[in-house]
Assembly symmetry: C2
Homo-oligomer: 333 residues x 2
DNA sequence: CCGACGCGTGTAATCGATTACCTGACCCGC
DNA sequence: GCGGGTCAGGTAATCGATTACACGCGTCGG
């Protein structure tokens, strides 16, 4: 593979000149032509590794995703990758699989690779490396999930409007006994969603008693299914269930079907995160859609601000309700 | 961030000694202790960029995925990432979104970054950069999709046994008019699946006439839906449909539902790629499952062989049939 | 007519590691 | 007692780029 010295020799100039031509400084037309010709003939491409060493910028971002198999995060990762690439950055993706150990492992190797900045949707609440990275001055932006004790801007969706709308939607359809399946205790976004929903229901005079709030042991379908089992076994089972994550919603759906109950006639089901296949379920699931693409883009922009040394605020983007048929009303799709 | 010189000073030795201690060569116990102590006190971690420049190995692999939003590829990417990390490599993932241009774009930046090896599940058939990379001597392994004219080992699944079993399954259930929704013309794996299926059906005296083979314009749900529409409009509509990709299957399912037809009583549906949510559909979909994890691992192993300069053969792993309820028989889940 | 200035370009230091080569200490055997 | 072998560890070259600084040449003003 040709290097800058080969190009310099071929063009009859010094390496400095080649570098300057390629980085758009000084040289005059005639020299410039010769250099570009040599570059083309040799198929020269600057070595990003050498450049990174010298300039102390790798033009690479790190993204640690709590669970890449969760389609919401897949979409988010895809959005981040596209925006990063558009702005000239590569992305190294690490999947934590909801494990703090793997997450720390990833952060460590990313720091070793001198990424310019780090995006993390943290698994669990505490992460030693995350704090270390922040303290070490690596530009850091949290994604979707806040982490107590880590001072970094957080980019995520906020459900007030959507949950208010959802409460109204359910009230209008005559649902009086809502229930919520939340993420394991301590997950900040889950708790927030719960409280917003509770407040929105209260405005319609609908209560959300503790026995109709179930915390799933994990963020996977099986956890959601377990909680749904408990809810349906109540003396007064709920007539509408909100799951604060798409995978838990899927497990909840399985339990409803396994009991031979019908959605929405026996119980309504709503999920957070509008992933593509919700529209293909029977019935299509009503969902609170997070603006995935916008979140990914905002995260990259915020991180670039931090990389360039500027302050950057947290970003809260509104989620919106996508009514389908799982609450009872006929909708457009 | 501390560098090797800081460590050397603190330990009172030369940088060479530090490097030797950290790479497990010569130094004797006492010096060794001092160096390790200094490393610990300073929290020193070798700069992967500098090391890569010197050793000409980045310990990074590149993965270009044809469509990261397709859950089959998400799983595959996840498997590749895990295995790569287990073996000490980081992974830069690029999503081509089924576009040859984006794919070339990604390959180009990956080569610039001097990745040690490249894994590609190619979008489309031809790719200038792919050929260029192969010619330039970058270790290359194809994943899931062969590319004519590119000399590189290919790791993928092979459906003979599964499709033979499927043909028997359908025959036993009395299905006589099968149809196939294939990927756009020229996608090697799609055509192969079609021919294997045709042969397997023939063994049961079942024909697969041209009018019951439809090529989708793309690998997305809408394409599958269009083909399904055509198939169901035939004078003699099929009583069983195989889609050679999970997203096309999803679109096909939508069309069946939109017409108020029932699966499996009106038409059976089988998909290639067993993705997690097939089990959560109603009815759960019978699928040809590719050994995703094993494919990812084999791909990494094959690539490492190539990186170490050894020859490596292509790998064909058998897919297997996962019968659920979408063909009519009651199954375990 | 000469010095200052500017412009284009070359020389060489630099980023942070690895490693070939050399040095010096020590030990051993003859 | 001395030559040679062994081994720890230091010196410096190197990877491929960027860039501060220096230099030479041309131009222009006083």
């Amino acid at each position: 593979m040709a290097n800058i010295k080969d190009v310099a020799e071929r063009a009859g100039v010094s390496v400095a000149t080649v570098s300057r031509v390629l980085n758009g400084r000084s040289p005059v037309a005639e020299t410039r032509e010769r250099v570009l010709a040599a570059v083309a003939e040799l198929g020269y491409r600057p070595d990003a590794v050498a450049r990174a060493l010298r300039t102390a910028r790798t033009r690479t971002l790190g993204l640690v995703i709590s669970d890449l198999r969760n389609p919401f995060f897949t979409e988010l990762a895809d959005a981040v990758e596209q925006e990063a690439r558009r702005l000239g950055y590569s992305l190294i993706i690490g999947n934590a699989g909801e494990s703090t150990r793997q997450q720390d492992d990833h952060i460590r190797t990313l720091l070793d690779r001198r990424i310019d900045g780090l995006l993390v949707s943290s698994a669990g609440t505490g992460s030693a490396m995350l704090r270390e990275a922040a303290d070490a001055g690596t530009p850091l932006v949290l994604l979707d999930r806040t982490v107590p004790g880590v001072a970094a801007p957080c980019v995520r969706a906020e459900g007030r409007a959507a949950l208010t709308e959802l409460a109204a939607h359910l009230a209008a359809l005559g649902r009086r006994r809502p229930a919520v399946i939340v993420a394991p205790a301590g997950t900040p976004v889950g708790d927030e969603r719960l409280e917003l929903f509770r407040a929105a229901l209260a405005a319609h005079g609908i209560a959300l008693p503790p026995e109709r709030v179930g915390a799933s042991p994990d963020l996977r379908p099986e956890g959601g299914r377990q909680v749904m089992r408990r809810l349906l076994d109540l003396a007064e089972p709920p007539d509408a269930v909100l799951a604060t994550d798409n995978l838990m919603a899927l497990g909840a759906l399985d339990e409803v079907r396994a009991r031979g109950l019908r959605i929405p006639s026996d119980v309504a089901l709503v999920a957070f995160d509008d992933v593509a296949w919700f529209a293909h379920l029977d019935p299509p699931l009503t969902a609170v859609a997070q603006p995935t693409r916008a979140l990914g883009e905002a995260a990259v922009h915020t991180l670039l601000e931090r990389i360039e040394g500027r302050e950057a605020p947290s970003v809260l983007l509104p989620a919106r309700l996508v009514p389908r048929r799982s609450c009872g009303e006929a909708a457009t799709d």
